[in-house]
């Protein structure tokens, strides 16, 4: 599998070249174009239990709905091009068995099939209610394509750093984190507009995006007319 990112850094597009029989797994809706002999199958059970009904419930009632499609080049080499919803850069990370990758929900584009994506792992749920974020845990071997809202900064961290949660794209398992309020007091944190921040420590890689989708949405949303109920 060869992945080539084009049109960086603002409207990046991932070109995936598949060998015969190779499969790439991408977030639902990411496909821009593909060779005519590439086969698509939708992964309906991703993200939890309950079968079809459970999936529909999650999709319509909101919450974490994360669906992927699998693209296979049948019989001959094929190509699939993928783009995320948000404008910005994309980067490929080679995942290996010695570490896990925690990916912010809106930052996952694609990965080699065989890499396992877990939405229900311990520790992350609940922290981000109000921030509307969820994280995926990716483990295995192979390339993972990440996208950013805006520009991507790749930091190899050895020490500590305080980061606004909405600006996190992904981080590796060598980093420990605690969720804290941004300022000294609760009122200050609410008023400072910073909300929750992640205090990272340890050794690992951290990717940040130069825009916060939640903040962008709030700013533009405030200017739009009220929805009619």
């Amino acid at each position: 599998m060869q992945i080539n990112i084009k049109y960086r850094p603002t409207f990046a597009l991932a070109e995936v070249q598949l060998q015969p029989g190779e499969m790439v797994r991408a977030e639902s809706g990411a496909m821009v174009s593909m060779s005519s002999h590439v086969q698509v199958s939708t992964d309906a059970t991703m993200g939890g239990k309950g079968g079809l009904l459970g999936m529909l419930k999650r999709a319509t009632l909101g919450g974490e709905s994360f669906f992927t499609n699998r693209f296979t080049a049948a019989g001959a080499p094929g190509e699939v091009t993928l783009a995320p919803t948000l404008a910005g850069d994309m980067v490929v990370h080679e995942l290996t068995a010695d570490h896990a990758l925690f990916i912010q929900g809106s930052s996952f584009v694609a990965c080699q099939d065989g890499i396992s994506l877990d939405t229900k792992f311990q520790g992350m749920k609940g922290f981000f209610s109000g921030e509307n974020l969820f994280f995926l845990k990716a483990t295995g071997d192979g390339p993972v394509v990440l996208n950013a809202f805006g520009g991507i900064e790749t930091l190899d961290l050895d020490g500590e750093l305080v980061v606004d949660t909405g600006h996190v794209v992904a981080f590796t398992s060598g980093l420990d984190y605690t969720v804290t309020k941004a300022s000294k007091g609760w009122i200050d944190s609410f008023l400072s507009g910073e909300g929750l921040v992640l205090n990272f420590s340890g050794r690992g890689r951290l990717w940040l995006q130069s825009r916060n989708p939640g903040a962008y949405g709030k700013t533009v949303g405030a200017l739009l007319p009220a929805r009619k109920e």
Partner: protein, 233 residues
Amino acid sequence: MEHVVEHGPAFAWLRVGLAPGETIQAEAGAMVRRDVGVGMDTRLNAGYAAGFFRKIMAFFVALVRKMLGGETLFVNTFTGPASGSSEVVLAPSLSGQIVHHKLDGRTQLIVQAGSYLASTGSIDTKLRWGGLRMLLSREGLFLLECTGQGDLFITSYGDIIPVQVDGDYVVDTGHMVAYEGNLDFTVGGAGGGLKGLFLSGEGLVMTFRGTGTLYLQSRNVQGLVGWLTPMLR
């Protein structure tokens, strides 16, 4: 203060390094990341106020600035630690560019209220009413007069284009970010009278006269709002 703009012109952010005790003030919500030693304090966006009565006044001024000027109610001040790494990264919420403007205490920069990101030193911002006609255009309704000494960082929706004005110059109100120098402006329709105002789709324009520098942005937030609105169900 060391500062660099990265990821511009479309998704620019500002990275600064603070000397021990050095401070930078930023609009609420702008922080992306900071080193653990950097201190962060939150206060009302109304200048420095001491004493009980002044604090009440400061609260009302900040509230007015938020409701009418679209600025944030609070600002955050970051302080460099005595030792250790002292980096802070700030970003605005919309897509676009960030430019640095040095104020020397003698000149002022007039900035569209939503375009303020951060400032250092003794820079003070005074809210100024843009004029009654500006009421029809949501942008540029309130302007900030920035004076004092220090580094000022302004943002734009789109890229920032500086224009040297010597004489007359006409600008769409939604594309005006800031101006300085000996410039005055009047607000009116683009031309074609009342019919032109409503049918040309151009809205209001500012006619600048004098000598100075005008800063424009290559995109218009009201354009985005107009494009999205019919899509809402």
